[in-house]
Amino acid sequence: MRTMKTRIAGTLLGSALFLLTSIAAAEVAIITHPGTQEIGLSKDKVADVYLGKIKAFSDGTPTKPVDQSKDSPLRAKFYKAILGKTETEMNRYWSKRKYTGKGKPPVVVLSDDAVKELVANTPGAIGYIDGKSLDKSVKVILIIR
């Protein structure tokens, strides 16, 4: 019984480790609507869109940032790489704004497919997905490795 338990624990640990490494190795693709013509969409500009500081592209199209769920490892990786911020820091940022009419956090959708669908059909939208989920329906801005 004891060996059995140990073996199960070992297997679980093994798959957890495997899962962690595969997540850590995943590429995050930052995508936008195929019609977005904005030039120079750098890391800093993407960050400003997610902070609500850039509210429209230079052609006047309103920007619409899209988030994944709080549990998504893609979200943590995106915020760390692009904004240099943790979930706690982002919560602190929005808590000063969203209850006072001074800003609205990005909409949250729950999967890569949902992000792609929304971004593909919304001019001005920006989102991020696992690199493996990329297809031609959206335009790639940046890849985080």
Binding site: E87, T88, S95, K96, Y99, G101, K102, V107
Partner: protein, 382 residues
């Protein structure tokens, strides 16, 4: 087996479909739960800041406790509606009030007009003073934040908000009227509460407070690391039975530095009211300030706050006087929740007029020596 799977899928579709249509309405909220304790050298019981803390027990039932729910819905690209209901604790039990309820018309990316009831941006954090999670302290320093008894304005608020080259600009111009309930210390402002009509101890008197012909602005400029703010608000006031058609103004400047692990908040405010016999008793001129310095060690933020309230432009006996030092610790226990501890030592100032008004500060009675107030809060957003 296959049928079973299909029916589960069907059920899931049925469950998720309404959630998609509900995406038009966004719910969010905030909660603060607090306990307070006061200790003094006085022999009898005494309470701090309109019963915010009592000397004889840890009080879990103060008006610091509250939960708020915000409902937001964008009707079109330009028009949205926001409603927030707050249930606030205190001696008379939890009371639910619409803290704000307004429609927004967004002219373009930078200019918007809010119409309805909104939090007055009187001081630096006053428009999110109920969202404890958003600031370092257990509560905004009451030396400054007690000077304006009004929390909300019913009217119009024109908002300009823009970021250019990493500099954030915010300007709000607002005006309107409103009815507010506030509390007053009847020992210091006799006339508000004839003993027979006082629902509680005569030191903690709620009364209706009517404001009209109110107008103000709030402007801030800042980067991610440093924000400077200035604001001014002027209003006419009716506060039966003693104040009628008198006026008061509130001016303030503030600074927030949030640079690397260093946090610094400071504000200076002036309340300037009509120098009449009634106003100088009920709402005398006051000057107040605070400065907070903190340092983040990962999820811990220890801080120290120095604060002071003193007589204003027209020196009168009824002006409140106290200075305080507070040591606090904010601990972010989770992505969206914090526990805070604060010990505050308050020195009620001696009035240059002497007499019965000396040594009150924000306490409901005269102190024989310094007093301490301890506060523990749990703050979360959802």
């Amino acid at each position: 087996m296959r049928i079973k799977t299909l029916s589960v899928l069907g059920l899931m579709c049925g469950l998720t479909a309404p959630a998609v249509s509900l995406a038009e309405v966004e719910l969010s909220g905030y909660l603060t739960f607090a306990t307070t304790y006061a200790s003094t050298d006085n022999t009898g019981d005494i309470t701090y800041y309109n019963a915010l803390a009592n000397t004889d027990h840890w009080d879990f039932d103060t008006r610091m406790n509250h939960v708020g729910v915000q409902i937001y819905s964008a009707l079109t690209d330009k028009v949205s509606v926001t409603l927030a209901l707050t249930a606030q604790g205190g001696q008379s039990g939890y009371e639910v009030t619409p803290e704000w309820a307004y429609g927004t018309y967004q002219f373009n990316q930078d200019w918007g007009l809010r119409m309805g009831r909104f939090k007055g941006p009187f001081y630096m954090v006053s428009d999110y003073r109920d969202v404890g999670y958003a600031y370092p302290w257990v509560r905004p320093p009451e030396e400054v934040y007690s000077t304006n008894p009004i929390k909300s304005v019913n009217g119009l608020d024109l908002v300009f908000q823009k970021t250019v080259n990493d500099v954030n600009y915010l300007l709000e111009i607002y005006g309107g009227s409103g009815t507010n309930e506030t509390l007053v210390n009847a020992n210091l402002a006799p006339g508000f509460c004839p003993p027979a009509s006082c629902p509680y101890a005569p030191t903690d008197v709620p009364f209706e407070f009517e404001t009209y012909n109110s107008a103000g602005f709030s402007a801030s400029i800042g980067t991610e690391a440093i924000t400077f703010r200035a604001g001014y608000y002027n209003t006419k006031v009716n506060a039966p039975p003693i104040v009628s058609a008198e006026s008061g103004s509130f001016a303030g400047v503030g600074l927030i530095v949030d640079w690397r692990n260093i946090l610094f908040y400071s504000e200076y405010v002036q309340r300037d009211t009509d120098n009449t016999p009634t106003m100088s008793v009920a709402f005398p001129d006051q000057n107040a300030w605070y400065a907070t310095l903190g340092y983040r060690f990962s999820s811990f933020l220890p801080y120290v706050t120095f604060a002071d309230i003193d007589e204003g432009n027209d020196a009168v006996p009824n002006a409140l006087r106290q200075s305080s030092v507070a040591l606090g610790l904010r601990w972010d226990i989770d992505d969206a929740a914090a526990v805070k501890f604060e010990a505050k030592q308050i020195d009620p100032g001696e009035s240059s007029f002497g007499g019965p008004y000396a040594k009150y500060g924000l306490w409901d009675g005269a102190l024989v020596d310094k007093g301490n107030v301890y506060t523990i809060t749990f703050d979360t957003i959802f």
